[in-house]
Symmetry: C2
DNA sequence: CCTGATTTGGTATTTACAATGCGTATTACT
DNA sequence: AGTAATACGCATTGTAAATACCAAATCAGG
């Protein structure tokens, strides 16, 4: 059971931004602070913006900031958005599925239910519960 | 959010065996039926046997069969065993973790809790709920 | 007590895909 | 204009899962 680093990074970004609201973070800033790839992080930020979680502004002095208050951002929703294209097991990707028991399988629905339980459990917390404050404040 | 095919195959094996109890399945039999790698499947079977879910017998006429009644095998436990070496996110693998917010991160515990919720939800079902019967019975 | 069938375990190879890098276009502030 | 940033497509890399291969241990049956 694994989440992609894409999702991992997305959560880090949100936690960090919640720690210093009203600041516009550039992808370069965050990449340096986290010591990860700037390019990859830029895509994560794009995805978060596309999901309506961040507001971005181009050009000089631009960057990204939270689109809503941390308490209005539920963690499960974030994970669900960032993991949207991940199939829990093979048979969830109907176009590439080769499982021979697919038509009669009684497991798939239960796995889907468990995945929903995972998200629901995370949704008991909001970003406000996971604010990250940098070293020097 | 993804499970490995290792786990996926393990679940298929158990469901199939529950459909025809008292039969000893060889790795080759199951691999042919599922149209997957025989060698890979052999390791899955090994892992299931090591976890006490299967009894295996070597030699001519050997094979594997369920060690317990299907109703006594909980799906969440199976997944937990087969996914044991999978880190949900980077910081769960403490030896290779590079996340700069690790000491102060308030997310990790919540992710772990959600992972447990996933397993617990699956544990509401047993293998008896997911028996797979082959085409011709 | 062989012989063939099967599991078991280790290692090596292949492959798939996430992760990363990079170049260009686009947008916007100064 | 010039500069600073996002946005986007494509190429490349790296890593881990998936697979293949091989040797050894084990057991049933003649």
């Amino acid at each position: 059971m694994r989440l992609t680093s894409f999702t991992d990074y997305g959560l880090r970004v949100l936690m960090r931004m919640a720690g210093t609201p009203d600041r516009a973070f550039t992808a370069a800033d965050l990449a340096a602070e986290f010591r990860i790839s700037r390019n990859h992080l830029a895509k994560v930020i794009s995805a978060l913006a596309a999901a309506g979680l961040l507001e971005t502004r181009r050009g000089g002095g631009g960057g990204a900031m939270l689109a809503r208050a941390p308490k209005d951002i539920r963690l499960g929703d974030v994970v669900a958005v960032l993991e949207a294209d991940q199939a829990l097991v093979e048979c969830f990707a109907s176009d590439t599925n080769t499982c021979t028991l697919t038509p009669h399988c009684r497991l798939k629905a239960r796995l889907a239910h468990a995945g929903a339980a995972f998200v629901a459990d995370l949704n008991r917390s909001t970003l406000a519960d996971c604010v990250y404050r940098p070293e020097s404040t």
